[in-house]
């Protein structure tokens, strides 16, 4: 059982809200380059460690990594901070971060998860990953419904496993 409120830290923007600069996602996987650079590999490994979904493959995470790197490339300070973070991770162990077993990666990220580079990555990473239609499909979120007449005829009340489900008074 989790009790998140005991470990809650303040983020820059309130968590309830979607990002101000919302850019739609299109075919993440297509943006993945055939030969990933070490930077892309490390960023992808970091994203995989932060958001591990068994149903998402390596190509997916490298696609998100590529997109993230392309975005921060426009912001030298953000890129410098990200590179500083990757250097911390790569320099702390015998092998580059991307080549470490998952368990080791997790414990290393735990050591650095209050660093600005990581906070920035998971914030934007959450947007890039969970605004993707393919991920919606995977987790069962159905998105915009107005064009289908809403969910009123599409299962808004179809729950069938409750003990003696009641109704409105």
């Amino acid at each position: 059982m989790l009790t998140r409120r005991t470990v809650v830290g303040k983020m820059a923007l309130a968590a309830m809200l979607p990002a101000i600069a919302a850019s739609p996602l299109s075919a993440i996987a297509a943006t993945a380059t055939p030969k990933p650079t070490p930077e892309e590999l490390a960023t992808a490994a970091l994203l995989h460690t932060a958001f591990p979904h068994a149903r998402l493959d390596a190509a997916f995470y490298s696609g998100v990594a590529g997109r993230y790197l392309a975005e921060i490339a426009k912001d030298p300070a953000a890129m410098a901070e990200h590179r500083r973070g990757l250097a911390l991770l790569d320099g702390s162990y015998i092998a580059p971060f991307a080549q470490l077993p998952e368990m080791v990666r997790r414990s290393m990220v735990a050591r650095y998860d209050q660093e600005p580079f990581f906070k920035a990555l998971i914030w934007r990473g959450a947007e890039l990953i969970y605004r993707d239609a393919a991920v919606w499909k995977m987790v069962g979120y159905e998105g915009s419904s107005v064009e289908y007449g809403g969910y009123i005829e599409r299962g808004f009340d179809d729950i069938d496993w409750l003990p003696a489900a009641g109704g409105a008074k």
Binding site: A22, G150, A168
Partner: protein, 517 residues
């Protein structure tokens, strides 16, 4: 299109077009008065409303700079709208009434240390007929003959779990969302995007209810993209007009009287930023209370990974309520109470909400079971404290060149005790149904309910406004939003804002008839 001259000093100026301003403006126009409604935001068309939270956040939300100290997010302490319709675009439509014991908070709760608890100067008996009128106006379900909305999945989980815990006061809530076609608007199609502006118009928003109706009278002029910065006084000490910024230009409109409904933070900023020799502490602030006693309710969440599919995104955000914890039962260890209702999240918002607490499997385990999630929102009374306060930053300026408002807020120990209890109560509900995992979260969400900074009262030294919302200091200056609330109650504020606005309109109408306005 009605157009009033800037020199027409017989018009009523209403600042803000949300719940308070939209209703007051329409009501005055219906009663035969001329109204100019000044709104800082743009006027959207129905076709601008899409089922996309991120896109609508950009179109609707008030993003001008604000700051905070204490508990809230330092850069985004308050969540509201800047658009025609105000925060009735974002709102989820829940319309509970204040309970009589909450309107007599000081009498019921006694002297709570470090608070300024008072009884309302308006009695429950006096406000009851105005609640009736407000419910008819908004088409509130389960009231005045309007049927309840149908129960959907997220609500059914809440209800089943709550009944197992012994709760009984449970239904799909009193909602300003059409359960039947009414008022030229359709019934709710269960789109599931209520906080993004209702794309079909089933949810009451002043954008497509009060405002067009007011315009039909031929006595109401809405001026969007007009940010009011000044309230001018004549030699007699009464308001003579207001000044606003429109497309970079300063414009002054003369006025017979002015009502401010900018939603607490902006209402406070406008008053404090209009100091003069006569009003050295800010307009209408001889009591020193403008900006003080800021209240915001706590809003926390509990998510449950349930044993079967829920699909909680498939319905109205706020889809039902459990009222059993609303009462005042000091044996729980705190004064006042709270409501339990439903809430869904998109995967993105859920993830962001959760990464404030962690990452990795803790997070993705929950997201992987997204379709099994049920969610609840717990909202409870917040006692007034003098030290919780909105002030103006001495040097920082926003895009208009106005001083940035600074919100200082800390939880009272009573609030902390109630929250701890509420988290446990929420957890129990999902555990009663065999939840695989229960997640308690959301202590840092920005305020959606704002109250208290220009409280009503009979004593001009202990309150800012009269029981009709007229400022004690300026005879033709009114406040028409949650700033008036002397205490916060344990429920959502908007129905009460609307009831008070309707009552204020009648008061103004009578004052005009009596030759006093």
């Amino acid at each position: 299109m009605t157009h009033f001259s800037l020199d027409d000093s017989s018009v009523f100026v209403v600042i803000g077009s949300g719940a308070g301003g939209g209703v007051l403006g329409n009501e005055l126009a219906q009663k035969g008065h001329k109204v100019v409604c000044l709104e800082a935001g743009r006027r959207l068309e129905m076709s601008d409303i899409v089922n996309d939270e991120a896109a609508m956040f950009g179109k609707l939300t008030w993003l001008d700079r604000r700051m905070a100290t204490g508990k809230p997010d330092p850069n985004f302490p308050v969540w509201g709208c800047k658009t025609v319709g105000g925060t009735t675009m974002h709102w989820t439509g829940a319309c509970p009434r204040f309970e009589p014991h909450e309107m007599r908070a000081r009498t019921t709760y006694g002297a709570l240390p470090d608070t300024t608890l008072v009884d309302w100067p308006v009695t429950p008996e006096e406000i009851a007929p105005w609640y009736d009128k407000a419910e008819v106006r908004l088409g509130v379900t389960g009231r005045q003959g309007m049927p309840f909305l149908p129960p959907g999945n997220n609500f059914k989980v809440l209800e089943a779990g709550a009944r197992k815990c012994g709760y009984t006061d449970i239904d799909t809530h009193n909602m300003a969302i059409n359960s039947i076609e009414r008022d030229d608007r359709p019934s709710c199609h269960q789109l599931g995007f209520c906080t993004s502006g209702c794309a079909v118009g089933a949810k009451w928003s002043t954008l497509y209810t009060e405002i067009p109706k007011a315009e039909e009278t031929g006595r109401f002029e809405l001026r969007p993209e007009c940010m009011v910065t000044g309230i001018e006084l004549g030699p007699d000490g009464r308001v003579s007009g207001v000044t606003y910024l429109h497309q970079g230009k300063r414009v002054t409109q003369k006025a017979r009287a002015v009502a401010v409904a900018g939603n607490v933070v902006e209402t406070t900023r406008l008053l404090l930023n209009n100091s003069s020799d006569r009003h050295p502490q800010g307009l209408a602030n001889s009591s020193g209370l403008v900006g003080r006693n800021y209240m915001r309710h706590f809003t926390i969440q509990v998510m449950g990974v349930m044993p079967g599919k829920v699909h909680f995104h498939r319905q109205t955000h706020l889809a039902g309520v459990v009222r059993d914890e609303r009462g005042h039962r000091p044996e729980r260890g705190f004064a006042g109470g709270f409501l339990i209702s439903t809430v869904p999240f998109t995967p993105e918002i859920l993830a962001k909400n959760m990464i404030t607490g962690g990452w990795g499997r803790d997070l993705t385990e929950v997201l992987d079971k997204y379709d099994q999630l049920a969610g609840m929102l717990l909202t409870g009374e917040d006692p007034p404290q003098l030290s919780n306060r909105i002030t103006l930053h001495p040097t920082e300026r926003d895009g208009y060149g106005l001083p940035v408002p600074v919100i200082h807020y800390e939880d009272h120990p009573n609030t902390i005790a109630m929250k701890e209890y509420a988290w446990k109560a929420g957890r129990r509900i999902y555990e009663a149904l065999g939840a695989e995992n229960v997640i308690e979260m959301g202590d840092y969400i920005p305020a959606t309910h704002n109250m208290g900074t220009a409280r009503m009262g009979d004593d001009p030294r202990a309150s800012v406004c009269s029981p009709f919302g007229r400022t004690h200091d300026v005879a033709n200056l009114y406040i028409a939003d949650g700033s008036l609330f002397p205490t916060a109650g344990g429920c959502n504020p908007t129905l009460t804002i609307v009831a008070l606005a309707l009552r204020q309109a009648q008061h103004i109408d009578r004052e005009v008839a009596a030759g006093r306005l």
